[in-house]
């Protein structure tokens, strides 16, 4: 490992980190602006031009607010929980390639923090660890609403993780690899997985919403029922961490979706490798655009669909998505067997 590699790695880490944080900031604003748009009203538009500095103002507000720690909490866990939530949210992005390989000084640089040979499993594993943040936060608050929210969220996450995994398996089967690079390369060579596996894409999309605790599956928070869900008792910067990780998760999930089913940074009908550095820049932009679409979809869905009831959520997960995922695997297997 020479200086160049270390340097490149550092740059990539910082760039991705900053990009994710930036995306989160943009998202917090976009959420409210789009909501305003959908509800035929203005969103926040006073801080900076068109309200662009609103996230900064929010951040400053979170930092400066008084940090209230309720008397009943179990302090160590209470402090640990936001961190546990945050770490997976920020580290999952590490394995996602965000652009075509770049040629720098005669070397090829993968636009990806870490290309490990089991990238998909890495994401799944970290997502499953993320559950602890919610559960522990809910439990350690020492109050019933957070506890209920925590229990709900963990059950929800575990249930939908299965459907998600099954949807991914179909993709893995056709592309024959567990790294994103292989999956994207396969989609470049043939066509986007979305066209080949619409069922899997649908299942994954729904599961993705549930995994990030977004409407219509935001039962962990469910303001009207549980006050604020697992983070009811959190305030100030610790609340900000939950907030941040929720949006970071959305970004990662969108990226995941894009990589699995929509060709990642691939631009359809265009060969990026022929265009040199510009091609790389273009591919990164395309990737951002695709992610942006799914983030918009998140918001759109949020302000369009009502929340599910808990039993409906479970029924959907276990009795609809899980069988659909299995059917998809079966169909893919059949298709592969017939093709060969």
């Amino acid at each position: 490992m020479d200086t160049f590699e270390i340097l490149v790695a550092l740059i990539k880490v910082v760039a991705v980190f900053v990009a994710v944080i930036l995306a989160v900031m943009v998202m917090t604003l976009a959420e409210r602006r789009v909501a305003g748009f959908i509800q035929y009203r203005h969103g926040p538009n006073r801080v900076g031009p068109w309200g662009f500095l609103q996230p900064v103002a929010d951040g400053i507000k979170f930092l400066l607010k008084e940090d209230i720690i309720p008397a009943n909490v179990n302090l160590p866990i209470y402090l640990l929980a936001p961190a546990i939530t945050m770490i997976p949210a920020l580290t999952t992005f590490a394995v996602i390639p965000f652009g075509a390989p770049l040629e720098v000084a005669g070397r090829t640089v993968q636009l990806q923090v870490a290309n490990i040979n089991i990238g998909l499993l890495y994401i799944l594993a970290l997502t499953s660890v993320g559950v602890y943040g919610l559960v522990l936060a809910g439990w350690s608050s020492g109050s019933k609403y957070p506890l209920l929210g925590g229990l709900r969220s963990s059950a929800q996450l575990i249930s939908y993780e299965l459907a998600m995994g099954l949807a991914i398996i179909g993709v893995v089967m056709v592309s024959g690899g567990l790294t994103f690079n292989e999956i994207i390369a396969h989609q470049q060579a043939t066509s986007w997985n979305f066209w080949k596996q619409p069922i899997a894409a649908l299942v994954f999309l729904v599961a993705m919403y549930a995994e990030t605790n977004r409407l219509p599956f935001d039962l962990t928070e469910a303001e009207q029922e549980l006050v604020g869900g697992y983070h009811t008792e959190y305030s100030s910067f610790k609340f900000a961490m939950f907030f941040l990780s929720e949006y970071a998760n959305m970004v990662t999930a969108s990226a995941f979706m894009v990589c699995l089913f929509f060709g990642g940074w691939d631009i359809p009908f265009v060969d990026e490798t022929q265009m040199g550095a510009w091609g790389v820049v273009l591919s990164v932009l395309v990737f951002i655009a695709k992610i942006g679409f799914f983030l918009f979809l998140y918001i759109w869905v949020r302000w369009t669909f009502p929340r599910f009831r808990y039993d409906q959520l479970m029924r959907l997960g276990w009795k609809v998505l899980l069988p659909l995922g299995l059917v998809n695997i079966f169909l893919v297997g059949l298709w592969m067997a017939l093709k060969v």
Binding site: N74, P76, I77, L80, I116, N117, I118, L121, Y122, L124, A125, L126, S128, V129, V131, Y132, V135, L136, W139, S140, L147, L151, S154, I158, L178
Partner: protein
């Protein structure tokens, strides 16, 4: 570098495990155990068992321990109350045996290691990936694999039966 990381992880692992066993609050134990398993996963990575390492996180840290956490929450287990006396009479001989065991075990490890050290080191072969483990699982170990799936089904049914309220 790898070796240093390994020893760091191993130390964390042992410390966390000791914490699991020694502290009185079950919730702390669970969290410590999750941490321990994460370290163990890291050690697996360093031993080039990538697939198993991920599984360690996915299955142990991600699924099994969540169950523990659930049960601890569900039962609302309170921290153990300290009891009078440092060593309880009915337990001193467990302690004695535990100590003998620890001693013997370490001695044996030393003995075994001496034997192993004399044998040549293994070659570095890429065996830890999903492909090689998967291939072994679906060819040579196909039957045990299927039986394991059956075992899981049985466990599922059994668990539901045991845990549901009396109808």
């Amino acid at each position: 570098m790898t070796a240093i990381l390994f020893y760091i992880f191993a130390t964390f692992l042992l410390a966390a495990s000791l914490f699991v066993v020694l502290n009185r609050n079950p919730i702390y134990s669970v969290v410590a155990l999750v941490f321990a398993f994460m370290n163990l996963a890291a050690m697996y990575f360093l031993l080039e068992a990538y697939f198993i390492g991920i599984l360690q996180v996915l299955v142990y840290a991600g699924a099994i321990m969540v169950l523990f956490l659930f049960v601890v929450m569900l039962l609302n287990v309170q921290p153990d109350q300290p009891r009078p006396g440092l060593i309880h009479f009915d337990r001193w001989w467990y302690g004695l045996m535990g100590l003998i065991f620890v001693g013997l075990f370490l001695v044996l490890i030393g003995e075994g290691a001496r034997l192993l050290l004399t044998s040549p080191a293994g070659e570095a072969v890429q065996i830890g990936g999903v492909d090689s483990v998967g291939e072994a699982l679906f060819t040579h170990f196909l039957l045990p694999f299927e039986i394991a799936s059956l075992l899981l089904t049985v466990a599922l049914v059994g668990t539901v039966f045991l845990a549901k309220r009396r109808v």
